[in-house]
Symmetry: C2
Subunit: 359 residues, 2 copies
């Protein structure tokens, strides 16, 4: 199977390369540059270090896996490491891991000497279909997720689908939450593919996974190219996310995988859309419920609460949404759905409606 | 005396307003925006809080004065404060203080929710003539100054020269180091004005100070507009700074005021320029020495060592320059001088030459 190359037409365009074994391109990408270094996590290094080729010998820092590494203490440690590794303004930082490594390391690259290049090498489904593309980087504040960050586009993304073979089931499902979001948002054919091939997806069929990643990246690349700085249309990518952030915040960061929270967020977005009389395509709610079930994802808050033994009271959830970056202070806004591929952003929900949906 | 308005023609242009009482413009600037907040330091709040007008009642965080506040711990504290103050993406952060407040708070504004507006209200000569204009923001790493930062242009700069009246002599002199740099770099008339009016400058003559600030901002605004991201010409603004960073690093951050280190850096840059046969205008060295003396600034390393009781061995100084952002890893580059207003950047110095200059 050959690699697929997708161009992201941002101010400085770059390519996303998707397929089996594409990490082999890393060495040639780095050969021309100043001293480089690798940021990863200890799991990824244990499982996949050999895939880095000659770049295995670069200075490397492996942080602890998980959301706790996405804070200021680790950010400073990464920057100290870059300096100690003698990186300069012409250097490249390779980000080899999932969303935490990509977000944390992307921000470190944005800040180090006011900006060096990075190559995103995402190793999880979630990072391949979403977080490695588009240049959003961030760390968490104690009181909220992704609240300190920067837009910093990578120079290249190498999404090697071979790395997905070792992904724990829970992380695969988390990625699938974002996949369903992309389908709902902008690719009806992908939605149908998922409905048809859910078993093959869960069995990690290599060809199907590559197709899924490619279609998600196409949806995202097109939107990001039209609105790199998230002044308007890019907010569409936050479908399900205002709800998801409320869920993750109320449960405590890292308790519920991001994409799993997004999956439930999609259900809540459809419910809210229907309550507001916005949802035209009524069959979409049962279709979404069936697809989430087929992919092993919780379909609503009740299922989510049972699965993770968390309380998630409706007022806690509403509180967790207050600091969503997309809203004005204290007034979260939502992306709501009219039909498959027909989505509106910047919709406000009355507190009363919101609490009913979160019940 | 009326205010002077200088336009900085960056990608998103903004104005620098210079003069007595210009802080009165702050309230009208903020009236249209979402929740705003003020970052300052405890000295500035004690001396000048009343100048903020109605903005005195905004949520305010005052950090400890001095370089120790320019690190990751305080940066996170500022970001937590912005969130607790309910700021959102449309909010404005007012930076009311010297270089530390401007650099730290400018970076916080760049990062908060991936970027909010800031208004720079510099209260020191150094911040008015240099750091508040041009969008460079940063905090220090343990191993080096300004190594983590971002380019984030302010929406407006209000340089109220009335705030300079309370500046300690040492901070006034520190600002004058940057003033002499600007003159040497790009304004021969300013150089002559300083030679002629050094006594009036030190006596803080309001009209002369406003003229000095205005001329420095003009030099900087023109260069920044031509090279906002420091790919080339903007490096000229680092005249004296590679030496200064080595000095500050070797002495320990905050021991020697930045502009005082820059003043000595200018002398060393001229000496290095002469040693390399680059300096055409030979009279410039004695002119600079006389001007620095007239302004109460140390003219060379010997004077600096005596004044601050620091050792500053030549090998320590050279070591401190290794991580200068402008150079390749381990090889600092210098801005050297051919004559008044005739300056070259990206010059490398052989280790041997460097150690002689640092002797």
């Amino acid at each position: 199977m050959s690699a697929t190359r997708i161009r992201v037409a941002t101010r400085t365009p770059y390519e996303v390369v998707i397929g089996r074994g594409v990490l082999a391109e890393l060495d040639s990408e780095l050969s021309q540059s100043s001293p480089a270094a690798v940021l990863s996590d200890t799991n990824v290094v244990r499982l996949h270090a050999a895939r880095l080729g000659r770049s295995t010998s670069l200075p490397r820092l492996a942080v602890a896996p998980g959301e706790d590494s996405k804070g200021f203490a680790t950010l400073e440690r990464v920057l100290d490491f870059l300096l100690a590794s003698n990186l300069d303004r012409r250097s490249t930082l390779v980000l080899f891991g999932g969303g935490v490594v990509g977000d944390l390391g992307g921000l470190a690259a944005a800040l180090f000497m006011r900006g060096i290049a990075c190559v995103q090498c995402p190793t999880t489904l979630l990072a391949q279909v979403d977080s490695s593309v588009g240049g959003k980087t961030a760390v968490n504040l104690r009181a909220g997720k992704n609240l300190a960050g920067a837009f910093h586009q990578p120079r290249l993304v190498l999404a090697d689908t071979d790395t997905l073979a070792t992904l724990p089931d829970e992380e695969l499902r988390s990625g699938l939450g974002e996949v369903v979001k992309s389908a709902l948002l902008g690719d009806a054919q992908l939605f149908a593919l998922l409905e048809r091939e859910s078993a093959a997806v869960l069995a990690r069929d290599a060809e199907i996974l590559a197709e899924v990643v490619t279609r998600c990246v196409r949806v995202k690349a097109a939107i990001v190219a039209r609105d790199e700085d998230e002044r308007g249309e890019r907010k569409l990518l936050n479908l399900g996310h205002t709800f998801a952030h409320g869920i993750e915040q109320a449960a405590g960061f890292g308790v519920i995988p991001h994409g799993v929270a997004v999956a439930v967020g999609l259900t809540l977005a459809l419910e809210a859309s229907e309550r507001l009389g916005l949802l035209e395509e009524r069959a979409l709610r049962p279709r979404l419920a069936a697809l989430l079930a087929a992919l092993g994802l919780p379909g609503d808050l009740t299922a989510l609460r049972a699965r993770y033994t968390v309380r998630l009271a409706s007022d806690e959830l509403a509180q967790g949404m207050r600091h969503d970056k997309k809203g004005r202070a204290g007034r979260p806004t939502f992306v709501l759905v009219r039909g498959l591929g027909k989505v509106d952003f910047d919709v406000e929900l009355a507190e009363q409606e919101l609490l009913v949906v979160l019940g």
